[in-house]
């Protein structure tokens, strides 16, 4: 029994190692280049707003090149949430016609009906009269729904 819990401990160790190697290690390796980037950004920001104040900011020594193992070069394009491909033009709050939805619902009902009818039709002689009436009831249920949709003017495209 203890051996089973031993495997759970092993799993936890593997999970922690996985998290460290995939998340923490790249982040910590990119820390020096991140630091350099943000200090340069901060200096540029102060120089543009308050040039006099910029003289009093001490120059932080930039980390040596060999510490910047993971490069950190952000840009507006790289930081944008939108990925590759065409950029969206205009608003993306476009409404689709809800009749597409009704149409798809009716289609799915009839589609599934065909799936059930086909094996029955192949074995029509073997299955006998009881299967025939069962299918008739099945079709009747769907036809009632279809007539209801028809009466509710789902099939009219306005």
């Amino acid at each position: 029994m203890l051996a089973d819990f031993g495997y759970i401990g092993l799993l936890l160790i593997v999970a922690i190692l996985f998290a460290v190697t995939t998340l923490l290690l790249p982040f910590s390796l990119s820390l020096p280049s991140r630091m350099e980037h943000y200090s340069r950004k901060f200096r540029r920001y102060v120089e543009t707003r308050w040039p006099l104040l910029a003289r009093f900011i001490p120059h932080f020594p930039s980390p040596p090149k060999f510490m910047q193992i993971v490069p950190y070069n952000p840009s507006p394009v790289k930081n944008s949430p939108f990925e590759c491909g065409m950029e969206t033009v205009g608003t993306s709050w476009v409404q689709f016609n809800f009749r597409y939805y009704f149409y798809a619902l009716v289609f799915i009902a009839l589609d599934v009906m065909v799936v059930f009818l086909y094996p029955w039709a192949v074995q029509l002689r073997g299955l006998g009269l009881s299967a025939f009436f069962a299918v008739l009831i099945f079709i009747a249920i769907i036809v009632v729904g279809y007539l209801y949709a028809w009466k509710k003017k789902v099939l009219e495209w306005k």
Partner: protein
């Protein structure tokens, strides 16, 4: 309900044309690959060479290609990725649809100016350090479509290219050779060098 702020088709076309024309005007020259570090004589020491070896091994054995296959050389890439030639030997079988997860762009095919801004965007969003293999005659120089007004005469007009792979299209063996050359190039990189 009428939706406001929807641009007309003409306005969208004009905006796109303006963007493409700006890109054409900006990319008349060839972007050189910053490869002067290949010739640098380094003050090598034991510590750095070991870290270099580990880093180079890690980088070259897990190149993840990003999906950027505008034209027909992609079929040769598919063959290379499939079971007969099998680039999973190089740790490359994961071909990412997201540029943020890829670091190798294999530019398989003719590039038109209409498509160029998107390719540049993909390159800009790729994870660093990133590498580019120009695959095929069209990717190197525009190929037989070079004199066309709508074709980019070589990918190096919009992005820096690391390895040029000739052929129309190059056979899978040639693509594997290019990948091996890129491996060598990555292996020569040292972390104390300036540049990419």
């Amino acid at each position: 309900m009428e939706i406001e702020e929807v641009y007309s088709r003409q306005e969208i076309d004009e905006a796109e044309g303006k963007q493409i024309n700006e890109l054409i005007a900006r990319s008349q020259g060839i972007i050189p690959d910053p490869d002067q570090w290949l010739d640098e004589e380094l003050k090598r020491n034991v510590m750095v060479t070991t870290v270099d070896a580990v880093l180079g091994w890690a980088r070259r054995t897990s190149l993840w290609p990003v999906v950027c296959f505008p034209a027909c050389c992609a079929f040769e890439f598919i063959t290379t990725a499939a079971s007969r030639f099998d680039i999973s030997r190089f740790g490359m079988e994961i071909i990412r649809a997201s540029p943020r997860q890829g670091d190798l762009m294999i530019t398989a095919g003719t590039l038109t100016w209409k498509m160029a801004p998107q390719v540049k965007r993909i390159y800009d969003q790729m994870a660093e350090p990133k590498w580019v293999i120009a695959m095929g005659a069209c990717a190197i120089s525009g190929g037989i479509f070079r004199s066309s007004y709508s074709v980019v005469p070589g990918y190096n007009h919009i992005i820096p290219v690391d390895v040029y792979l000739p052929g129309c299209p190059p056979r899978p063996e040639a693509l594997i050779h290019a990948i091996r050359m890129l491996h060598e190039k990555i292996g020569k990189r040292s972390i104390i060098q300036e540049g990419k």
